[in-house]
Symmetry: C2
Subunit: 202 residues, 2 copies
């Protein structure tokens, strides 16, 4: 016997299917929604539809946007010669947070992950290649995919794909996080830090 | 009023002053020791004295050892041309764990940390300089101090000190730990990974 009426249970189920919302949270949120003033609930419902309707991929960088080109692509102050390739729109926010990078972005919407069912055609790699062809002013592609097996494989794939393009391909450094201690690092990270050791001879 | 007799309380206090042993653990350990067979307790007590008596710093690398030179320094299969400089003997175990490094070590027994009361003279930096002078075959010094403010400062200090020596000074790479995600990295680490991005043009 269901504890809640079918329409409430449906709301709980749909909320609970969202990332980071467990069964208990879903129930709490659902009951909160049922107690909201009518217009707030309507507003929430509409905003889901509107966000979907008004959001699309920037024709240049593939980031989610409600104007095309997106604000970053159309910002005249950004450096048009570098493109930072990230997995998801969230990663753009992360990169912007450090206030170091002034160039443009390209959102892959995933990484090459055959085991996870993501083929090359499922990410926006063709759009990246096309963009690089259309914009010869781009002279560096920074591969900022996550330092996971799939992220590294995707970076390597792009590097090989563009090997004859004359474009410099770089990768965010992997190694020991700042403030960490050798003793508590995992072996893969320490191996990577050792192999990628940098010359500091002054 | 003390709960335990003075000699028990003294044992608890001394155990509790060890790193990672809290008041409750100290009491539990102390009572365990009191319940041990006589010879085990004697053995523990003696081993503390013996470990202290028979352990000293290797005259070459300053690692704690009971033979001089230590097993690593006297191992003919190790590469004598590189020295990996670490903060503590524990870090040697960590580096050995990755099975990548085949050279020698130098243990600083700390880092240059004026705020923490560690001056240059308190670490074994002079011994390192002397060693490099005595062993011209050493052509690379890998600074594997922790990627903390003090560890980085110490690496930089050594790099400047040896700037005219012809010896290559390298530093373990700092950056994103393998398997991590950009989104959850801290800003300093991401900045370091960005600034230290490596060329993967193929």
């Amino acid at each position: 016997m269901a504890r809640y009426s079918p329409s409430i249970q449906d709301l709980i189920n749909r909320l609970g299917a969202l990332p980071g919302i467990g069964a208990k949270s879903a129930t709490r949120v659902a009951l909160h929604i049922l107690n909201m003033p009518e217009e707030d609930a309507k507003g929430l419902s509409d905003s889901i539809i509107n966000a979907r309707k008004n959001t699309f991929r920037c024709s240049v960088c593939q980031n989610l946007t409600d104007s095309d080109p997106c604000p970053i692509c159309s910002d005249p102050s950004r450096d048009k010669t570098t493109v930072c390739v990230v997995e998801s729109p969230r990663d753009i926010l992360t990169m912007e947070r450090i206030h170091e990078y002034k160039g443009l972005y390209h959102v892959l919407h995933g990484v090459y992950d055959p085991a996870g069912g993501k083929a090359i055609a499922d990410i926006t790699l063709n759009q990246l290649i096309e963009r690089l062809t259309l914009h010869p002013e781009i002279n560096e592609v920074i591969m900022a995919t996550n330092p996971t097996i799939e992220g590294n494989a995707t970076a390597l794939y792009v590097s090989r794909l563009l090997s004859n393009s004359g474009i410099k391909i770089t990768r965010l450094a992997s190694g020991l996080p700042l403030g960490s201690e050798l003793e508590f690092s995992n072996d893969y990270t320490l191996t990577s830090a050792f192999k990628g050791r940098v010359d500091i001879t002054s």
